[in-house]
Amino acid sequence: MLQTQELQVNIGPQHPSTHGVFRMLVTVDGETVVDLKPVFGYLHRNHEQIAEANSYLQNMPYTDRLDYFNSMANNHAYAMAVERLAGIEVPERAEYIRVLMVELTRILNHASAVGFMINDMGAWQTPLAFGMREREKILDLFEMASGARLMCNYFRFGGVVRDLPPEFIPNLRELLRALPAYIDELERLLRDNEILLQRAIGIGILPPEVALSYGVSGPVLRGSGIPYDVRKAEPYSVYDRFDFDVPVGKVGDVYDRFLVRIEEMRQSKRIIEQVLEQLPDAKGGHINPKARQNVRPPVGDAYARIESPKGELGFYLVSDGSTRPYRYKVRAPSFINLTPLADMCRGYKVADIVVILGSIDIVMGEVDR
């Protein structure tokens, strides 16, 4: 029989489609992947050590830099963890503003995640350009409210730093008119595209029980058929007041995860509409006036998790009574979602690795911390 010799190929760390500095040591037998070993650490800055040297409030801008696509989601998780630790309660309007901001980041994240994945498949940035246009609109809204497009640093313990500016709601209503048209157009462009079907169906399959045992979360878990969404499983903040559905895939391949992300964008739009209906008026206050920002929580620990667009993002804080957290741990969804990468890629072609990685949708800032 033709004796073939295995070849070690390095994909990354500088590579057009590894979403940041991430290396995969792939042993290839001809075309099919035999084994894949992910290598991290290129972007490791020991975020948790920095956090232990900062006071609680000073950590807030650092959480923006964890998953730099969804700075609002990171802020939300961290703010909830500290509020749970120090026992600060948040006024109604602040909770609604927080949910509004996190759902906007979900739309922004899924729009660009789908764009990047299709871009890895080779479509020359067209779906990505459409996604980026929607993302720009949302970033403008963030800039109006928080002052920065990407590093929003908008949340404080007990609420948000500033109430919504007057021109925020009208612009948001206008954006909500564009979103369904954008999502339908994206589906028309890609859903039945024969080439995409060939590149996505049956690629990177993750059966449900394997997905559960790998502890993946977010669209990757729901793509495999398990309807686990932290907003529904353990409703936090005011999520129990909105009704929205949980999209779930059937087979757990790249195509399912793609469809789940598109459906989740629609659900997020539904949530935002309900937030706008139920938004209490400004009298409710955008921050709890009694909450002092240089927090000195009692001794103890607290864990808070949210459904960030990439999965379950959790913050574990241990306080020793001083103004600095004694231990600050981040449960990063992208980091854990990479665990099954080796199993998902084994047996597929080399060109599929990049597509599977795109379907998991990782951001290196969160993986390497």
Binding site: F130, E136, S146, R177, V251, D256
Partner: protein
């Protein structure tokens, strides 16, 4: 595919399965539909699209020629503010921003009063390392004096790295500039900021705390004022408009008119040099510029101080609202902290004690070149009007002033005791 191993009921929502329908045989229809979408985009892209509700049309902004609209809350790099009326910086170097700054890029040193060496509520050296600053906006949030705000200027690239360690001179911007870029945010904090500024100005001797670029201008202005006052003193009492503020031609508010009058009278009194008759030394103008006299000789300052003490005591007795504290012109030598707010009882007792030992010292005939340091003006707490020990004018007059101050304080104390 095995049924989902967990039967999960979702509150307020359904579990919806995405329709894959991948068994349908596809014959290129999807490809054509995709091309139709791209064709529509090509056709529409000849129109500009600036609205949020449109998904067609070119949305690129030709950057240098066409600027994106910057919202008011936008924050890039911190800047320091100075009041363009009085030329004084708002910053009192209270170190709050330096403490809160996560990457610790703000470095400042407090200004010292050159004569007495005591710290003054003004900043001497203020450095921000713009290359490490992440524009998180914490310094602007925690500043109690609204002295540091976030700028909207983002074209900061430079090829010389040393420029990125920005000193106070490049950081300072007039309040009018900040009011222009962030109108509503400035309107909210305007009154409290300016009130605090006035409080601080009074504690700043001579040119300390002035925005550097304005220092020479204001010093020149003052010299010019002094020259005018001196030259016009012999003429009609009403001196030409020694407008305290460098802003000429501004319609004078009543408060400023009184201030101008007082400045003239004080200049006349000092210039005439008559004995320390308890002439009515009108309270100095609220503006910081001293009433025109050059550095007065020690005794003249002392006489002034005595007059002021008597008056302050009278004012304290009248319990006048603290809005316009009788700020004694900051004579370069004597450093007095006239009482602004009606002294609380504790303060009154302090005044009495001090008046007593002032009288003692005056009796001892010691020529205190520098009166004992009054409580440092650092904290904005208002020290009660202590009767500065008079220099050795006739000791009787000094004792008289001291006693009068003491019983005024006691009356005051009983007055507001109820």
């Amino acid at each position: 595919m095995t049924a989902s191993p967990f039967e999960i009921e979702i509150p307020r929502g359904r579990v919806i399965e995405v329709q894959r329908d991948d068994t349908r045989v596809r014959r290129g229809g999807g490809l054509l539909r995709g091309m139709a979408v791209v064709w529509k985009h090509w056709k529409e892209s000849f129109k500009l699209n600036r609205s949020y509700s449109q998904i067609h049309g070119t949305f690129t902004i030709e950057y240098p020629e066409e600027r994106p609209r910057i919202p008011e809350a936008y924050r890039n790099m911190p800047i320091l503010l100075y009041d363009d009326e009085t030329g004084h910086e708002l910053c009192t170097s209270c170190f709050q921003c330096e403490r809160i700054c996560p990457p610790q890029v703000i470095h400042m040193t407090q200004a010292k009063d050159p004569a007495t060496g005591k710290p003054v509520p003004a900043v001497a050296e203020f450095i921000i390392e713009y290359d490490a600053c992440m524009s998180c906006g914490f310094c602007a949030e925690v500043c109690p004096f609204d002295a540091i705000k976030m700028d909207h200027e983002f074209e900061l690239s430079t090829d010389d790295h040393t420029q990125l360690t920005v000193h106070k001179e490049q950081l300072l911007r007039p309040i009018s500039y900040y009011a222009k870029i962030a109108p509503t945010m400035w309107a909210e904090v305007r009154e409290s900021a300016l009130k605090k500024l006035q409080g601080n100005i009074r504690r700043r001797p001579d040119v300390i705390g002035l925005a550097p670029q304005l220092t020479e201008k204001i010093a020149a202005r003052r010299a010019e004022l002094a020259a005018q006052a001196a030259q016009a003193a012999a003429a009609a009492p009403v001196a030409p408009a020694a407008a305290p503020a460098p802003a000429e031609g501004r319609k004078l508010t009543p408060e400023e008119k009184a201030a101008k009058l007082a400045a003239i009278r004080a200049a006349k009194a000092a210039q005439a040099g008559e004995s320390a008759t308890p002439a009515e030394a009108a309270p100095a103008t609220p503006s910081p510029t001293p009433a025109g006299e050059a550095a007065p000789p020690a005794d003249k300052a002392a006489k002034l101080a005595a007059i002021r003490a008597a008056n302050a005591a009278k004012k304290a007795a009248a319990g006048e609202a603290p809005a316009t504290p009788p700020a004694a012109p900051d004579a370069s030598a004597a450093e007095t902290t006239p009482s602004a707010a009606p002294p609380s009882d504790k303060a009154a007792r302090l005044a009495a004690i001090r008046a007593a030992n002032a009288a003692k010292k005056a009796a001892a005939g010691e020529a205190p070149a520098t009166p004992p340091a009054t409580p440092a003006g650092g904290t904005a707490a208002d020290a009660p009007a202590d009767a500065p020990p008079a220099a050795p004018p006739s000791d009787k007059a000094a004792r008289l002033a001291a006693i009068r101050a003491a019983n005024a304080a006691k009356k005051q104390q009983s007055g507001d005791g109820s």
